[in-house]
Symmetry: C2
Subunit: 437 residues, 2 copies
């Protein structure tokens, strides 16, 4: 029987890779409480420093999946394909993408978590719709995947419970930011969910969890390799997250913008990312269809409405609105906006009440930020660039403070060059060597 | 108020040193249970990788000391001087040194812990003397330091309790082997104990905790700097621990050898280290005296007898002996022994029952190893080099297994050159630059 202190030391000193049997023992012992949280925390920090080899990561992910139940979506008449984003400011793409891709014939089984930190959670956004509920039984899930074909719901407690416990531990021990741990956390849940195909949106830039583009690429490659390993057709897009996506940041504000996008009135940057992801999803699902046509025809919007109704929501009910709205961030000079920092706007929205600092916190459905102007727009000196929404007057001062830093907005004498938001696409073929033993 | 996850991240990413206020907050929050063991474990592992700056280590040690009571030995009529060894195989030097240095006029307040692993603990050794008890009240301690002048006792729970808790945590989380954490653990207890001067025996070599000589030197320098910082006149000797010190390894066996040493019949290597440490201790205590003369005159032995009696022991009672004795490790060829691996012998003694694997374990007073021949001795092929002592027949096989590895004993055609056991001496002046700022 392995001894946990020896395993920690092996990882700490990088003397050799941990074996599959050792990792299996570790997960069983952690579940059985013979390995304590402080021992797992020390191991996670050692992994933060020394990483996991391909073989270790494969075993680690396998144990995460095996810790719970696995859904079987193979009996669905539609091909299943899911999407996961590492999180960005104003990233409401899932809300548009799920009904859009379902309306083209795929089943989209999007099981999500709650948001933590400055990037909001998809479930939090949908909960601003009156009546909508995040929980579905496995039976309700299967039925909804048959028709209307898209589900955005809370991941049940039965999927990868080891990940739930490890994530809570990582959150309080400063061990979240580790590429293999992030990759196994995301992929174990998606693999357990039973999707046949998966497109990952790995964000990079100031507003992203992975600011550094090289690290974002590494995370993307790691996840694609894990997906291929588990026979999930997986592709990853690395996309820019330097400025908020679209113009709305905050729960109800983002739902409103997503609905507009589904009716053909989405902002260019939002649609650029949405269409890119939709095309890859459809391709992996083996479906030939035009996402733009699905929107223009009204099919995507119809699927959205039915998707919301299945989960008790009223898609026609007016969305809640904040009691207090204020202008903020006056343009420092006249000219073209060349940059609007996603992180600063994300933190402002978070402080207004749109996000939670701890898992136990409630979020405000109505709080958030609307961008009145964005990079590429011309502004006059003093013209407000943001509109802040809050339920409570006291929220404005801390939010405004987040916007005060130099560089939150930059103004130039000419419009900035247009740069594509999709930086790179990683397919299984690109990581074939990383998958093998 | 600092947030522990932020502090862990700062240390993890080495972005800046933690401030004294942050470290003080951390210790208070850990004592108050608002920082959990898993958070401290993650921080300890980050410290394992990134170390502590001089300023951080100073604050860390200060908080360890401040977590409990501090003894005041300044009212003693004798100058106080203590010794600490990082632990070696057959290292019974403390047993000889305390009465020896006390018999020259110093007060030696040696508060010790229990042994863990293959190097035995001083208290475990003394407990093989019938009647001897390790616990003393602070009042008994002060009285014994006045006369006979030497005390070897268990450190009370009141001294550096934070170290006790951190050490237990490090022990189960694979974070023991960190130079700043070792240094602050040892020095916080010695500083809290109130000694005015301290000589450290930092062992290096196969049987030592710090096998690597450079790391042993670094630990020595770190501890001397911490001592100077807290106005304890501190000196460190780095000494070789490649082969057992003396010929006895195990509790009663080592007491027997220590008593012989106090009556002038100690083996050369044991006396070389003992006299070197004694001379530095006396120098730091400002006492001019000859340790060799203290032994030759019988003063040292007399002090030993009184020291044992003060703690309830009978120095004239026969020591317990093992029920089973066997020869082991036959010389593989005829020639001169050039090496006898301290670690292998230490593990054999440990497995025979002389040491404990866990804090809760009992140790055998009688188990151990006697070296019938040592490096520099001539042996004939097949002649046994070791004598194993155990209470229980079943202990011999695992002990013998520890001795089977190639290199446990090496034989040459000529006696090995004599190398001095003291590798280097580090004084406060040598680390003056490490103490400042």
């Amino acid at each position: 029987m392995p001894d946990v202190v020896s395993l920690i030391r092996v990882k700490r000193d990088n003397t050799r890779p941990l074996t599959g049997a050792e990792i299996a023992w570790l997960f069983a012992a952690y579940a059985g409480q013979t390995v304590a949280d402080e021992q797992m925390a020390a191991l996670l920090m050692a992994i933060y420093f020394n990483g996991l080899t391909t073989g270790e990561l494969r075993a680690w992910t396998t144990e995460m999946i095996a810790s719970g139940e696995t859904l079987d979506l193979s009996h669905l008449s539609r091909p299943s394909v899911d999407k996961h984003s590492t999180g960005g400011v104003g990233d409401k793409v899932s809300l548009i993408l799920a009904p859009l891709v379902a309306s083209c014939g795929a089943a989209v089984p999007q099981l999500s978590g709650r948001g933590l930190g400055h990037t909001g959670g998809t479930l939090d956004k949908l909960e601003s719709i009156p009546g909508w509920r995040a929980s579905l039984s496995n039976e309700e899930l299967t039925r909804a995947l048959a028709d209307p074909g898209a589900v955005i719901a809370a991941a049940g407690a039965g999927l990868a419970p080891a990940d739930r416990r490890l994530y809570a531990l990582r959150d309080v021990t400063g061990t979240v930011e580790s590429i293999p741990l992030i990759a196994s956390s995301i992929m174990s849940k998606k693999i357990a969910e039973g999707t046949q195909a998966l497109v990952l949106d790995v964000k990079t830039g100031s507003g992203a969890f992975m600011r550094d583009q090289a690290r974002a690429g590494q995370l993307a490659r790691t996840m694609v390799a894990l997906g291929a390993e588990h026979h999930v057709r997986t592709r990853a897009l690395v996309t820019r997250m330097d400025t908020p996506l679209g113009r709305a940041v905050g729960n109800a504000l983002e739902v409103e913008e997503a609905v507009k996008a589904l009716t053909g009135e989405g902002p260019d940057d939002l649609m650029e990312v949405t269409f890119a992801l939709a095309e890859h999803m459809l391709e992996l699902a083996g479906i030939t269809a035009s996402p733009a046509e699905a929107i223009a025809s009204g099919r995507a919007f119809d699927t959205w409405q039915r998707m919301i109704r299945v989960q008790g929501g009223d898609p026609d009910a007016p969305l809640p609105a904040a009691r207090q709205v204020r202008h903020a961030l006056p343009a420092p000079e006249t000219g073209w906006i060349t940059g609007l920092d996603a992180l600063a706007v994300g933190i402002a929205a978070w402080r207004l009440g749109a996000g939670r600092a701890r898992k136990e916190d409630d979020v405000s459905h109505t709080a958030g930020v609307r961008c009145l102007a964005k990079p590429g727009d011309h502004v006059r000196r003093g013209q407000p660039i943001l509109e802040l929404h809050a339920d409570d007057e006291s929220r404005f001062a801390p939010a405004a403070e987040a916007l005060e830093a130099a560089g939150t907005v930059t103004i130039g004498s000419a419009p900035p060059p247009r740069t594509p938001l999709v930086v790179s696409v990683i397919s299984a073929a690109d990581v074939a060597d990383e998958v093998g033993a």
